[in-house]
Amino acid sequence: MLPLCGYPVSAYAEKAGYSDSIHSLREVVVTSNRRPLATVQSLQGPQLQALSSTSIADALKYFAGVQIKDYGGLGGLKTINVRSLGAQHVGVYIDGIRITNAQNGTVDLGKFSLSTLESVSLFNANKLDICQSASEFASGATVYLRTRRPTSDSLSVLGAIGSFHTYRGRVNAQMSRKGWSGFIDGEYLKSKGDYKFRYKSEYEDTVGVRRNSDIEYYRVEGALFKNGFSSHLYCYVSERGVPGGIVRRLSDKYINVGREWDADWFGQASWTHRFTSAHQVLFNAKYTQEYLRYCTDYPENQNTARVNNHYWQKDVYASASYAWSPYRWLSANIGYDARHSWLKADLRNFHTVRRLDQKAVVAMQAQYAGLRLAASMLYQHYRDHTVTHTGAADPLSRFTPSVTLGYSVKGFSFRAWYKKIFRAPTLNDLYYTQVGNRNLKPEYTRQFDLGAEYNYNTSQWSASAQLDGYINSIDNRIVCLPLKGTYSWSMMNYGKTYCRGMNANVSGRYSPGDWTFSLITSLTWQRDLNRTDPESESYDKPICYSPTFSCGITGITGWRWLTMTVSALHVGERMWSYADPEDVLKPYNNIDVKLTGTWRRATASLEINDLLDEQYEHVPRYPMPGRSFTFSLSYSI
């Protein structure tokens, strides 16, 4: 199986007999194998489960072009940035339906579990299926999470214990009858997150234990499938501490005491049907509710503001798409989406905001011999309603195109694509008390990509390689800046970015007899330049937090009932301010190891994360946890 080519062959999974900590993965959904046109990287079934990973962020960090921003610890916010477009340009989709957050536009990857997933794929620009919803065209990069469809009945339980007082339990029941299949999956985790950190330099040797970094969550998910019908119910409830940056203090007396509660749930359903070979429809519907409370109003908080704020969000979404394929060489796709979001918060000078977001798309795909063309035009319309102090922003409507051209010959495929897309200002950007700016313009991205890939498959061997060069530019970046001559900050359109980069992936698999060996590598090189102000000293300097070079390598070895995975990730130096050459985040190497053994119905696994115990950061003064161990045992009937 070629994890990085996007469309895998299923035989390998059965043969390898890989197991994750719970399931025997004896099936892999096979996607009809069209020659790849989109730029995609994917991790499927056994590979995904063989990775040492607790959240989706851990899987995505091995993809080329991906930067994860992580505030450290299990509870720390984890967001993904692809090819330096910014987290808000990355759409994350579960079974084709986008996870949204109207308030801030980003998805905390830490809230989603890998254990119920069949695959995680990253598409730069569009996925390019024949029949897609309009919102699938509406982000700069898209992450697709595909839920696993059970093929047998089973019940399994798992218990895990890990470093920093971490305990996790999970129960999964799944069934498959008469074409229906489904599962219920419940998980509980509690962690103190009291990891040690050390800052050591010429002028500092700070040793400490992370405090107020605990998390406790419940996650309950259920899904039901039949043929073209899929549905998913997801519920996540958590409480966590919100630790601050590690700064100079004389003692531990004044630590951050802020706490955050989340209660999120969504229900979604999707139905697709092909009437004849010429007609296909796709309907999606989703309801989401999110609650967030942030509180620092405690007796022990004697030194900072006593805040107790609540935020409520509701979101209703529906879409309809239709694809028409009159000839073998031509197909057309139209789609319409509507989303209605509500945001309520008990902030001063803030009232309920409603947003109606409508999208329509016309797309077509054509092929002639090895030559293929895909083109789409997306129309988006946003209209807000509010009685907030400043009034609603003006409605926003825009057309944005994308074009992809591909050519395949023998094992080779070549592609070129262009996509222009914007992100609308979020409700926080526009209306947040004393920060929001209702005059914001959308933040535009333009992406050009030129790529090639090669695939080779035999029963014992498979190999693939892919190389993409790209140029991205971002205009009217939405950033928070102080207002000149005041003490107030506000969201503003400020900044241009110009990025040239290269992503490469090489992967291979060799499976002689009882053994399987697979290797997945990725490499990113990019120059991501600030083109905001030609007069400024930071003009043409790299964008903060953006590494020029990063690479990852994952090796998986399987022998009968044993699997061992070693993953190594190198991320180069990143600057975090232009003010001083010392303001850099040091390069780091992260090595994760996972060993899994299966005996009859029981599976045991040992994970070691950050084997080298490197003390590194994604955000200055937010230390990562260093080396940690997790041991888990599961049993299934």
Partner: protein
């Protein structure tokens, strides 16, 4: 070529001798850095060049801390710095050497001194004192003994007290109520007057203007207090406050005059006026009104705001200020009259320090660090106070001796300028 080197040599010589001539410029500048990034830095600037942008670290081998917020000189050998997010009041020598530090005053904001004690305003609710832990519902002012570096007393004022000044035995504290946007209380409108000896609030002057937040400058008996308003219905304003009137018990309205200007960044001139620059911004319109004004406090109060506001900045100062990307501080060296301002630029870049001669001739732009904001000039001869030529200060009729900052002096130094009975004299 030879000619070139000769010229270069002459230039260098000229620069050196110029340095030697005005050779009295010793400026400490606090760069706030980024919040929670532990990168507050101290710049030391002497005679036209930046000696170091991490002067504290150079002198002590460790970092200053997170978000330094104010700096004052207490006596010849001692300087205090409030490092807000580190919850530290740091004491250093004028050479930058750390002497003591205390975290007894968490969320400390601004500093004032009478030469014997340091007074610190705090948004916090508890204070570790010699009498034990004191807790307050609102904010407070703490009194630190500079012999022991212990807090001797503290007193509750309004919510989120910011600017603090010492005059003639009393402390004047501008209350903001700045957390009103998050907490369950309203903005404050008062200036608390505290008897510094007893640490009791003796009166609260209601300015009827909310959120007295920002830099507060003092010129003798007068204070220049900024109010950013709420950025919605209440626009920014400046309060010119008369400490003497407040002590003398005049009614509230007789103690201040409100002006329709923002003084987001302000400083005291050597002739007792205030420079005030700032903008009045409204979220309704997203529009700015900038102002760059010179305020004469005595005239403003006398005329009830009708007079005493001018735009007569010396030389190119006004034009240069208008060209700044993001003004972040303004200062005049009280000993020499040299004018300084900082530009925070785009906030991810190093800020800049700009310098002008007292006549307003632009002298240079220097690279400092992120968010350069708070200034302290060191006395050229190392003695506090020293040779200021002129200051408007005819506010006393007893024989108590004060320095030019309005601080009571017990033992005047020979050769220095002091004020006694409302008149300047040179101690012999």
């Amino acid at each position: 070529m030879k000619n070139f080197y000769l010229r270069l040599f002459i230039c260098l010589l000229a620069i050196c001798s110029a340095g030697a001539l005005h050779g009295q410029e010793k400026i400490i500048l606090l760069n706030e850095g980024n919040w929670q990034a532990d990168n507050g830095k101290m710049t030391y600037f002497e005679n036209g060049r930046v000696v170091s942008n991490q002067w504290f670290r150079d002198a002590n081998g460790y970092k200053l801390g997170d978000t330094p917020n104010d700096i004052i000189q207490i006596n010849d050998n001692l300087i205090a710095i409030s490092i807000n997010w580190s919850n530290i009041v740091q004491f250093i020598t004028p050479e930058g050497k750390a002497v003591a530090a205390t975290e007894d005053v968490p969320n400390n904001r601004k500093l004032a001194t009478d030469g014997r004690y340091v007074y610190v305003s705090s948004y916090g609710h508890e204070c570790g004192t010699e009498k034990g832990m004191m807790t307050f519902e609102k904010g407070y002012v703490a009194k630190i003994d500079v012999n022991t570096f212990k807090v001797t007393d503290a007193v509750e004022v309004g919510y989120e007290p910011e600017g603090i000044a010492y005059f003639n035995g009393y402390l004047f504290v501008a209350n903001t109520g700045g957390y009103a946007f998050q907490e369950d209380h309203e903005y404050e409108t008062t200036v608390s007057v505290i008897d510094a000896a007893t640490m009791k609030v003796v009166r609260e002057v209601d300015t009827r203007q909310i959120n007295l937040y920002g830099k507060m400058s003092q010129s003798g008996q007068y204070l220049c207090i900024n109010s950013p308003g709420d950025y919605y219905d209440i626009p920014a304003a400046t309060i010119i406050f008369d400490c003497k009137a407040a002590i003398e018990g005049k009614d509230d309205d007789g103690c201040f005059q409100k002006l329709e200007y923002a003084s987001t960044y302000n400083c005291t001139t050597t002739d007792g006026k205030f420079y005030a620059i700032g903008s009045r911004f409204s979220y309704y319109t997203s529009e700015y009104t900038f102002n760059y004004v010179v305020l004469d406090p005595a005239k403003v109060l006398e005329s009830y705001g009708a007079d005493g506001v001018e735009e007569n900045f010396p030389g190119t100062v006004l034009a240069d200020l208008k060209g700044l990307t993001m003004p972040y501080g303004i200062y005049i060296n009280p000993y020499t009259g040299y004018i300084y301002a900082t530009d925070a630029g785009s906030f991810a870049e190093a800020g800049a320090l700009l310098q002008w001669s007292p006549e307003g001739k632009f002298l240079g732009r220097h690279r400092v660090y992120i968010n350069p904001a708070h200034f302290l000039a060191l006395p050229p001869d190392g003695h506090l106070p020293s040779g200021i030529e002129d200051i408007a200060a005819d506010y006393l009729d007893d024989n108590t001796i004060y320095n030019l900052q309005g601080i009571r002096v017990e033992h005047p130094h020979p050769g220095q300028v002091y004020i006694r009975g409302g008149k300047k004299y040179i101690c012999r």
